[in-house]
Symmetry: C2
Subunit: 421 residues, 2 copies
């Protein structure tokens, strides 16, 4: 939608809201629908090609208004999570509209999804232990539980452990393994912890880490977790959106071993903040803890609108364009002997640095950000200060990449003249 | 704002957004302001009388745009929480823009505020215990902690205890005490628990319970909590908005004993969902746990707009009107000998029932809700099935009250003819 159409449609929407409010007394205060009414009113999958805006707006009255806020809010959410789950080719276990036991729920942020999964895992672990040893006092179990995540995992994972009051151990990763958690490392830590009397119960794998977009080896890690009855949660906050493209879907292989999976549709799938999409294999594991807040906004509406206005193909194009732009930036970096690429460029993130000291790279970063034309957030990889060029704006084009690179090289020249490197 | 003005202003806003997007490349990607820049740009308190819409919109460019999303989002939130805290006449301890150590933060829902307070209390308790006995193993402490709330408290309070993995005990209340927690009861439970080796650390008081809008005696309970170093959190989810009126402010007396306080501005203060406003006496107690999610929306914008478009007087008028309408409904109930009032009408909630069996009241409720003209949610008070008439829509007028009462009495007549009572 360009600016001209946005102006037109936005103003129509203002009138639609005003009409609704002016005539609200003609509506009933409570819906007259059977639970589950909504699913049959809309397709089972997102469209491949975009729907028209007129059709989308007409469906507000046809699909939503009969079910008002409740049950429409929950039902549209369940169906939208199925749509998105199918776009991602999730195993049927995770899709609510099948004979499986799983389904999806929208969280506010990935932090909440990690915590919700951890709480469900803690409940399941305590239940299993009490089932095998009913005499054991429940209060002592939690203090023996141990959870794991990569040392590259987002800080919210460690924080979830603090909130739930359980031990959270970081699994070391190596540059030579591309910062991915290896099966062997997890297996060894589990064995050591069990020998010490602890109870491993939760592992949070990351697909697309924040620092370098690294991918834990879930095809190796999943079977270990399953065998040890450890809940495997997959946090793909950033990378998850890309799995709607067949060429990136292999990155999600191993999902069949997971108990829960989450990514932020608000990060890279054109759905406005907040919309963190989470699936579980067994809905019953989550009962009582579907989410931390009890009230909820009607967040699935924005998924419905976006999926229909873009169509699956439009969304795939969007992802591909960002990855292509990242590759274009990578080529520019690689063509310049003064720079080096610090991690594989898999999606829309390019980790790079000047061949030289951390000091020279820190100074370069400061100059870049002080210019306020582009903004980079750095990271440390194996002690090296690394600049991160992330593609994340809807309107970014090739010319922005070239302009950015020109600016970066110009500032790099200045910095290199001033500082020893 | 009536529908005509809403249409006009809404369309202007659509243009403003489109203009912003069309010209976004002319803006810097990162703000050039000093932290704390925002406070001096706006008044220290909410206006008494409404500001003009033009002034509000002009301030987006003047106040927000220079600080963009960050730091404007956090800074406006802090100042808006001060504005609202001053409207409520909170003790200075809770106001960030003073020399105190406290301040406010917006949560999504009261459930999150209860949990955040509980987590902060748990941290503080563990820290205090370790300070007095450094040899004590930390893992064993949590299993000894005990939290309290009223048996009338919202289910989210019990749930917060489950999430944090601590014992949560319900304090019994009596009809003769108007369902308020009494100091003596809390004191006795604390003594018994301490004698049993437990560590009381958290009490969640409720001002305006969900079933009957009962008020715990915080002037009695607060000093007990303070003496026992128990964190007192006050959940005033519904009632809190009314404390901006001097005549209802005495309901909050005792706030000076609290460590944290929360109410839902989205419930009764014309701010759209979600916006649950929470204050703490010591900011440092919350560090690391200001909120459960890490990402955040710019929720303070809607507080800013609403406070300025209504002014404090407009907001007070809105609260008073709902209370008056509730009193009007109460008079209608009291004037009809077949009905009785089941709990004091303090604010906008009227608990009432037919003098008769629970069955007859349940049947009446079903008939009322099946009509879909008004919607009532019932509760049980001391085993009695009670109907709850809650004033909560912006556009409710006296005629709606009279129409509702006419409908209720008409259905009551039908039910009483059909059923023995």
């Amino acid at each position: 939608m360009d600016a001209t159409e946005f102006r037109r449609r936005g103003k129509e929407m203002v009138d639609l809201i005003a009409d609704y409010l002016e005539n609200i007394e003609q509506r009933t205060v409570y819906p007259d629908v059977e639970p589950g009414y909504l699913r049959s009113l809309i397709p089972e999958e997102a469209p491949e090609e975009p729907d028209t805006y007129e059709d989308v707006v007409k469906d507000i009255e046809r699909v939503i208004m009969p079910g008002a806020a409740s049950p429409a809010c929950t039902e549209l959410e369940t169906v939208m999570m199925d749509w998105l789950g199918k776009m991602l080719k999730l195993p049927e276990d995770f899709i609510a509209g099948t004979h499986g036991q799983g389904g999806g729920v929208i969280q506010g942020t990935a932090s909440e999804a990690t915590l919700v999964a951890l709480l469900a895992a803690r409940c399941r672990a305590v239940r299993m232990i009490l089932a095998s040893d009913p005499q054991r006092p429940e209060t002592g179990i939690t203090s023996k539980l141990v959870a794991y995540s990569s040392d590259q995992a987002h800080c919210s994972v460690e924080r979830a452990g603090m909130i739930a009051g359980v031990r959270m151990k970081k699994i070391p990763t190596e540059q030579s393994d591309k910062y991915a958690v290896q099966g062997e490392t997890l297996r060894r830590m589990i064995q050591e912890d069990k020998a010490a009397g602890l109870i491993p119960f939760y592992f949070c794998a990351t697909l697309g880490t924040t620092p370098s977009c690294a991918f834990d080896h879930i095809t190796e890690l999943g079977p270990i977790c399953n065998a040890e009855k450890i809940w495997m949660h997959i946090d793909a906050a950033y990378a998850g959106s890309s799995f709607i493209c067949p060429e990136f879907r292999p990155l999600l292989n191993g999902i069949e071993f997971a108990d829960s999976f989450n990514f932020n549709a608000h990060k890279w799938l054109l759905v406005n903040f907040d919309c963190s999409t989470m699936w579980v294999k067994k809905r019953s594991d989550l009962i009582g803890h579907w989410q931390i807040p009890l009230g909820r906004r009607f967040r699935s509406l924005k998924m419905w609108f976006v999926f229909r206005m873009y169509g699956l193909k439009g969304l795939q194009d969007y992802i591909r364009k960002h990855v292509e732009l990242a590759k274009e930036f990578e080529s520019l970096v690689r063509a310049d002997q003064r720079f080096e690429i610090s991690a594989d460029v898999v999606l829309g993130l390019v980790c790079f640095r000047l061949k030289g000291s951390n000091e020279v790279n820190e100074t370069l970063l400061k100059r870049i950000n002080n210019g306020r034309k582009i903004h980079l957030v750095p990271c440390l990889l194996s002690g090296q200060f690394v600049l991160r060029f992330a593609l994340c704006a809807r309107t970014t084009e090739s010319r922005h990449i070239r302009e950015a690179w020109q600016l970066i090289t110009q500032l790099a020249e200045e910095v290199m003249q001033e500082l020893p490197h």
